[in-house]
Every structure is written in C-alpha cells, then in structure tokens.
Amino acid sequence: RGGMKLELSKVVQGCRLGVLIGIGKTGQHSLELPGCLLYTRCATVPHLTQDTLHTLTYLPAGAQVALDGLAEHHEVLEEFKEGVRKFAGLHDTALFCSLHDPATNCPTGHVTNKNVACALAMTVIVVPQTVSVWGSGGRIEMTAARFIAMQAVIQPDCYQSMADGETWQTNTSRKRVHKAVNRTLAHLDECLTLHHKTPQLKHTEVFGVVEGGDILEERVRSARETAKRPVAGFVLDGFQSAAMEQELRGQLITAVTAELPVEKPRMLQGVGRPDEVIACVEAGVDLFEGFFPFQVTERGCALCFDYNVTPDPEAAALSPPTVLELNGERPAVEDPKQNDIGNTGTMTQFEMNLKDIRYREDFRPLVEGCGCYCCKNHHRAYVHHLLVTSELLAGVLLMLHNTAHYLGFFRALREAISHERLQDFKTTVTKVDFGGRKQLH
C-alpha cells in the first residue's frame, strides 16, 4: 500500500493548493489543502453530539485528537482494542493525533533529564526520556515506549512524533533551543524504530516535528535533519499564536518550508486566526488545527468576518456590500484587556460578541446567508439570551456556527488560490488593502 500522498495542483505566491490522498487504513480519506482538521476534546467536537455535528454539511475529512485528552484513558483503550475513533463513536473520518491540545495552555518545565546516554549521529548526547501531557487529573509523563504504546491503542491514521516543544516562552536560551531540537530528533528516531515494531500501527503515518524556537539556524537545522527521516509529513511546532509575532513567524516558516520536500504535507500547530492562517499558507503551510472556532465559542462570540470575494473582478467596484455592511455594522473593536478570557484568548476583529446588549432585540441570524443550523433556526436575540442566562445550548449553537463559518473560510481560501484572487481575498478577510482589484468600501 502506497500510504499518504500529496497531490499538488497549483502553487500561487507561495500558497500550495492540493489534496492529501490515501489517508487511512484503506486509503479512503482525502483532505483538501490548505485545510484544517476538525478539533475535538477526547474525540468529541466540543458541545456537539453526532446529531448536531452532522447538521454541518461540509465536514473536513480529518479530525484531531490530542494525547492531553487521551493519555489518562490508556487502559480503557487498551481493553477496547479497536481504537479511539470507534470508542468515541466518531463518524468515518481520518484521525490525526497530536501531543497537545491547541486550545489549552500547557505548563512548562517538565521535560525531564534522566541522564541516559543515546547515540545520535555519532555524538553522545544526554537525552531526557520523557515528555509530558496534561490530562484532567494532572501531568502524565511518557517515555517513547509509552508514547508509542498510546498510539497503538488510539490507532490514529497519523500522529506527530514525540517532541520537546517547550521553547515557546520568551527568552528561552539558545542552548535550551538547541537541546530541544536534538531531543526532538532523538525522540523521532526512537519513535520510528518502535513504530515499525508495532503491528497496530501498520497503516499509521508518522509526522516529524520541526522545532527551533525563534532562532533561524536552529529552525533550519531542525527542518533539514527531520527531512532526512522517513516521515510522511511535518509538524511545525513552537509557532503558536501566543508565542510569536506574525512577521517573525512568517519569516521562520518560510525558511523552514524551504528545507522540506515539496511532496510532503506541512502542518502548523497553534495558529488559527484567519489573517495568520493566510500568512502561513503563503509561507508554505498546508494544514492547520481547527481549534479557533472553539475558542471563539468559549468567549461567547460568533465568527462574522467576510470571506466572499466577488466572482467577477470587473464588478468589484460595484460589488455588493460585504456581509458586515449588510448587517449594518462592523464588529466593535473592543478594548482587548476587557475581553481576555483566560485560555480562550482575546476577542478578535473576526467575531461579534453576542453577550453585548446591542443584540438583545436583534432578530436577524448571526450571519446573513450562513447555512448553519444556528443561522437557519435562530436569531441573535435568542443566542444573546442563552449566553446571558448561561444556558448550555449557547455553546452548541455557537460551535455549530463558528465551525461552519471557519470551514467556509478555508473553502473560500482554496478557491481564491485556485482562481488566483489571493490579494482580493486577503483584503476582504483582513480589511487591510493588499492591492488587488477590489475597492475597499
């Protein structure tokens, strides 16, 4: 069996358009790129049962689970034997397993040093044996053996190798970053060895993880070295939104992807904001984690940014009003400090805060023309009421809308690349003029 394969159809201004095919046991799944994975917690899309989830018409072909959410269920999964997708009653989707949950901040300082010598490229390096994940009961340490054992009971279609990603704090020393790159490579080699001895992982692919913090040389080194290993794709770690400004991120990712083979997919962790997604696609990223709609939901907000580029460029000057203009407003750009809600981050320019009193008597759908269950059945005033009264249904409805809107954004991004309307697309989404033919209203 051939395994995962990337079919590139087009590259426009650095953006790769294509399909990742051959994913899964029988190679039955394919993922359109650039794309995002469906975000789950413990293999459930937050707030949603299968009924409500399937009101969404365009589900991505891939979903993400994280060891943070699954490690504590190792024993159960072991006894179950048939993998987490079946255990969770998830629909037929490709499953990607990451180390960490992108919507939760993991504590740092837990990479342990057990003074075990290991040979790596003819150099003896002291390699810590464990990496930690964070379950509901606290920290769970994993050696490579345990890590692979976990993958064997989860049975994802693809997983990222064990990695030391604790270099995203500011002022991480160069030495520490260097060590992290080495450790990650060592983990990868260990994982690959164990992987090939594990029958349950016969049809599972491994992605190598590129580390290197904010240091260009380390990033390049990590990329080059990882690319030498027989991996099916690459995960770019340490670029989380919280960790780095977009400009630096763009530069580093561009440098990294230049070192990676074109025919293998690149997945970026921890970046989900629409403007950052576009910038990272331009830098060579193919795949994103889909946690952003969840964060928006948790702060009681609804995605409402426009992503529709007019099909006829000649009509751009006379183009119909944007979604926001139709709704008679732009979302309030509020004081960031007032909107910081812990892990769910600050409210962005891409969303509307439905707890705001202005929506109390607004009987329009969240976004005019949105086909999601929430917009087809309910209005802003109702969702506002649910939020004000702390009702559980608020989370359900917002999750449905935000997921639908975000997936629509990715579809529109692919179309924009396909029709070479990227500048107009960027202008529409970010409200910043990137040139292109469309007039900003």
Partner: protein, 420 residues
C-alpha cells in the same frame, strides 16, 4: 367573571349526566383544546387520550420535559422534535425576568423566540416564588417578592402572571395559585386554597386569548381531604379547559401524596385533562397514570442527566462512577435513542471529564427514556393490558417484590391492580 359562572352553571363537572356531558364538551371545544378519550383501563382509572391543542395533537398520558429558560439544557429543538416530544414547558418566572415578556412578544411569542413549533405549557411563576426567591409576603393582591437580579420588590398578581403568559403565547397557561408547601398544616392551608379559587377567577378574566391559550385551574388543599374536596367542588364549577393537581410532590409522605391524587381524579371531569405537577420519577408516573392522571412534568430527568445519571428500566446508572470506565455496552442495549445507538457507558464516563457534550448525550437519553415509558404505558392502555404492564414494569424496576414501595402497592391496589 359573570360569563364564566353562567357557562359553568350550564355544565356541571362531576360525574355529569349525558346531556350535561354534551354541554360540557361543547364548552370545551369552543376553547382551543379538545380531549378525546381513546381507551380506558377497565381495571384501574388509567386512560389513553389525544389532546388537541393549537400547536398539534399530544398523546396522553404524556411526560412534558422542562425547558425552563426557553431551552432544554443543551438539546436543540430539532433533537427534541426527533425524540417525539409534542409538548414541553417554559417557565414564566425565569422568562419574565430574562428576557422579559415584551421582547418575547416581539419575537412572536415563546414559540417564535425559541423556534419550537409544537406545544408549550407555561406555569404561572408561583412555584418559583415559593421555592427560589426571597418571599416578602403573600396578600390578596398577589405575591410580593424581591428580584434576585436587582433587589427590587416586585408584586406578581394573577393579572400580571396571565399578562406575561399571554405575551409568551403558550398553548396551556396556568393560573397563579397561592402555593403552600405540602408539609404545612393549619389555617394557612385553607386560606391558600380559598385564595387560589379567587385567583382562578381573576386569571380567567384576565386571559386575553382564551381561544388560543388554555387556562388550567390548579387544585389545592394540601394533604387535607376535606379542603381538597372543597377546592375540587368549587373549581370544577368553572369552565376551564383543564385541571392541574397542585400542592403535592413537595416532600410530603408518599402515603399521603397518592391519596390526594386519587381523591382529585375522582372528582375531576372525565372529559378534561388532569395534569399532575412536578411528578417525574418512573414509578410515580406509572402509579399516577393508574390513578387517572394524563399529564406530568418534572425537571428530574434532565437535571439528573447533567450529573451523569442515566435512567434505565431497572433504575439508574451513575456514569461518573469508576465501575463504568470499561463498560462497553450502551446505557440501555434496548434503547433506540441516538446516544445508545452510538456510544458506550465507558465513552460517556471518559467524556464527562472533558466536555459538556457528555451531559447532552445523557439528556437526550433520559428524555427518550421518559417519552418511551409513557408511550409504552399508553399502548398498554389502548391494548387493554395496562395492569400486566404495571406488573412487568415493577418487576423490572425492583430486584424483588419485597422492595416494591408499599405506597405504590397500596395506591395500585386501590385501583384494583395487584402486584403479585
């Protein structure tokens, strides 16, 4: 007010002669509610009916899930419809506070506000006064309480309760009653009962929409047979579309509870629905159907779901407990709900640690359990095998007949259903 008494005089309510029954039926169908009795159990007082309401037919006996704040705790209206729910509850007190009747009226009533196309029943707000809120006083005028949101003193009168319910537009509305805990004794009970009668008349007069909103009376009288009988005598003189049995299910002894229920159904008209408020445990439902009740509501099934408790024919499963961590069966292998068709106890146990969806799964299941139970009860009445149903239901629910609650045995025996 006079109109009400004139019509009531024409249709005497208790065990009426055939001509009076016809008159009563005519009066009832002039409103927007009609009860068709499909079948009656020849042994007990159970009946199976079709209740026609403005937003569709409701099969009784019926359990009505409670959607307090215009939503059923995490379940969409589509899911509720899918489960076969034909009527559910909204709460006047809560909705009257937030978002308020004016807004809901603008949204085309509670139906429009929450987008529920089937029937709605709203209570008067009276119960919450007693149970939730710092009560200042009850006077003849109404109930005075302190708003929990801004500390203001608010007076809820019968007229205002009906006005709010008119704005909500629910298919069945409840009178404001003077609610007294069933554990209270003494003159207060009679005072509350008498006042409830007067408030019923005020509510009837205040109802702006008698042709699409059906006002139910609430029989009070506590655990005192005489008082309850007096209340029944008076309230059944009024031409209301239906009757609720109130003042029970509040912590009184079950032995006293069932006697008041059966006394009430003995004196309520056959041709009008009997709504027993606040009852929702499976055993209670089955017994009270046997005693002649048609409609029930309770927060229990949906509330207990959020604590991980799944209802099954043999009791309940506390899914958060360790023993379910590796239990790969569904909650109930015979249950047809979406949760049981897709998910195991083990998965729900795991999910409870991570995400709210776990609660939603159980809520869906518990609603399905309640509705399926009532459907089975109803089918057995129609097929003239209700007593056998009761016997096998009890057998399934309790490991041995020694564990049958004696109040239930007594209550069933009183309507000729023996359990052994």
């Amino acid at each position: 007010m006079n109109k009400v008494f004139k019509m009531a005089a024409a249709a005497s309510a208790t065990r009426a002669a055939p001509s009076d029954m016809a008159a009563a039926k005519t009066a009832a169908s002039a409103a927007s509610l009609a009860l068709h009795v499909l079948a009656e159990c020849p042994v007990s007082k159970a009946r199976a009916c079709v209740l026609k309401l403005p937003h569709g037919a409701v099969n009784t006996p019926v359990f009505m899930p409670v959607g307090t704040q215009g939503t059923l705790k995490g379940v969409t209206v589509a899911q509720l419809e899918e489960l076969g729910c034909q009527i559910c509850l909204g709460n006047t007190y809560h909705l009257g506070m937030r978002p308020g009747p004016e807004l809901i009226e603008k949204a085309n009533g509670l139906h429009g506000f929450m987008n529920w196309k089937r029937n709605l029943l709203t209570d008067s707000g009276g119960f919450q006064m007693v149970s939730l809120v710092e009560l200042s006083a009850v006077t003849e005028e109404g109930v005075m309480f302190r708003s929990p949101y801004d500390g203001r003193e608010i007076l809820l009168t019968p007229e205002q309760s009906i006005a709010i319910q008119n704005s909500l537009g629910s298919d069945i509305i409840m009178q404001l009653d003077d609610v007294v805990s069933s554990t209270v004794t003494g003159p207060r009970v009679e005072e509350a009962m008498r006042r409830s009668i007067r408030w019923l008349d005020r509510c009837a007069a205040a109802n702006k929409n008698p042709h699409r909103q059906n006002l139910f009376a609430i029989i009070q009288g506590g655990l005192n047979a005489e008082l309850r009988k007096a209340c029944l005598d008076e309230m059944t003189k009024r031409d209301v579309p239906g009757f609720a049995i109130g003042g029970l299910s509040g912590g009184e002894e079950k032995d006293d509870f069932w006697k008041m229920v059966t006394l009430s159904t003995d004196h309520l008209p056959r041709g009008k629905p009997r709504y027993l408020m606040g009852v929702g445990y499976a055993v209670d439902l089955v017994v009270c159907v046997a005693l002649g009740c048609d409609m029930f509501d309770c927060v229990f099934p949906t509330r207990t779901a959020r604590f991980g408790s799944a209802l099954v024919p043999w009791g309940s499963l506390q899914l958060k407990q360790k023993q379910y961590a590796k239990d790969f069966q569904p909650i109930d292998p015979e249950c047809q709900c979406a949760t049981c068709k897709r998910h195991s106890r083990a998965y729900l146990h795991a999910l409870f640690k991570s995400d709210t969806a776990a609660m939603h799964h159980i809520t869906v299941h518990n609603i399905c359990y309640q509705l399926t139970l009532m459907r089975s009860v109803r089918d057995s009445i129609i097929e003239q095998r209700f007593p056998e149903f009761v016997r096998s239901f009890m057998k399934r629910m309790f490991p041995s007949s020694e564990q049958y609650p004696s109040w239930a045995e007594d209550a069933l025996a009183s309507v000729n259903i023996t359990l052994d």
